[in-house]
Amino acid sequence: MSPILFVVIVGAISLLAGFLGALLGLGGGIIIVPALTLLLGVDIRLAIGASIVSVIATSSGAAAAYVRDRLANIRVAMFLELGTTAGAITGAVLAGILIPRFLFILFGLIVGYSAFAMLRDRRRGAKEIEVGPWARVLDLKSSYFDDAAGMHVDYQPKRARIGLALMYFAGVISGLLGIGSGALKVPAMDLAMELPIKVSTATSNFMIGVTAAASAGVYFSRGQIDPFIAGPVAIGVMAGAFIGSHTLGRISSRTVRFIFVAVLTVVAVQMLFKGVMA
């Protein structure tokens, strides 16, 4: 394969990864890493460096549209970033101590459970939870216009404290395993804080860039960010994420939830496989 063909193929795969990542609030690493290593024979260390870049590219490429359309709730995001960034540092510090193998199995099980739990749409009004003092003081309430449903959706986030705790945990996992962990952030916002699914994925998308940027410096200094690979990944992903961010509003919440659960199942299997085979 000539270098120029490589760049074109990487760009095309990244376009898809960015599109899906923007819709689902994930970083696209689940597509980028296997595609680069298995399909194109890229060294795994360099593939991981490129996937960190892909997380930031997904986030930045889509976030402008999500913030403008109010799909991303920036107050929820900024509050929860306290947890994800603090968790990421903890994870980086613990990285040498804990055994990755068990973490992959643990992560796989949690993600698998989340997929199962999210499969069932919340029964609205089944058990009305009171808005806690934190959610009220933080002024998290918001609304967005749902293009697919053709109406305004008002929502009140709940259980802010539990959400923060879960984000800390998600941050620890990203710090330890070097992944974006949108796969944990979205279920936490969906199941605990009861945000609409589109708000959960868009807000996760908004946040993952910050967590990834925190660790990108390390990958750069270690020489894991190869511009010849990460460059086309970044451009392809940003273009895909831009398209994705203009698509999310127009597809139904049910569809978003369905695709998310399907992808989550794949992530769970990947992680369990890594843990068992390591």
Partner: protein
């Protein structure tokens, strides 16, 4: 007032994205002009994506690479702009929340920025 917060964030992200993509495209064009063999040569790829691939991994390398007109150093500069964008977004949020006198969110975003800067320095030391 709240509208302003959103506009500021959207603008930061757009500037970061457009700037980084432009720089990377320039870098790629420079690379192809200087290495016409990349259009045809197969063995050339191996040296670019294998563990022994050579590319800048310090700011000084990037700067000196750009001075020598190396396309890949320019692409790397674009990637660094991309990496800096979320950090700039958090830093700008602090400023915006100070301006709109939202004390709670000024505190929250300041702590996030602080944690980010700490993790950056830990990362650079650890590596």
């Amino acid at each position: 007032m709240k509208e302003w917060v959103h506009t500021a964030i959207v603008t930061t992200l757009r500037v970061g994205v457009v700037l980084s993509i432009s720089i990377m495209l320039v870098g790629m064009a420079v690379t192809l002009v200087r290495h016409p063999e990349y259009f045809s040569s197969r063995p050339a790829l191996g040296a670019l994506i294998s563990p022994g691939a050579h590319f800048p991994n310090t700011l000084l390398d990037v700067v000196s690479g750009i001075r020598h007109g190396r396309g890949q150093a320019v692409v790397m500069a674009g990637l660094l702009v991309l990496i800096a964008t979320p950090v700039a977004r958090v830093a700008l949020s602090v400023v915006v929340f100070v301006k709109v006198r939202d004390r709670l969110y000024t505190a929250i975003t300041s702590v996030v920025l602080l944690i980010l800067l700490i993790s950056f320095s830990i990362g650079l030391v650890a590596a």
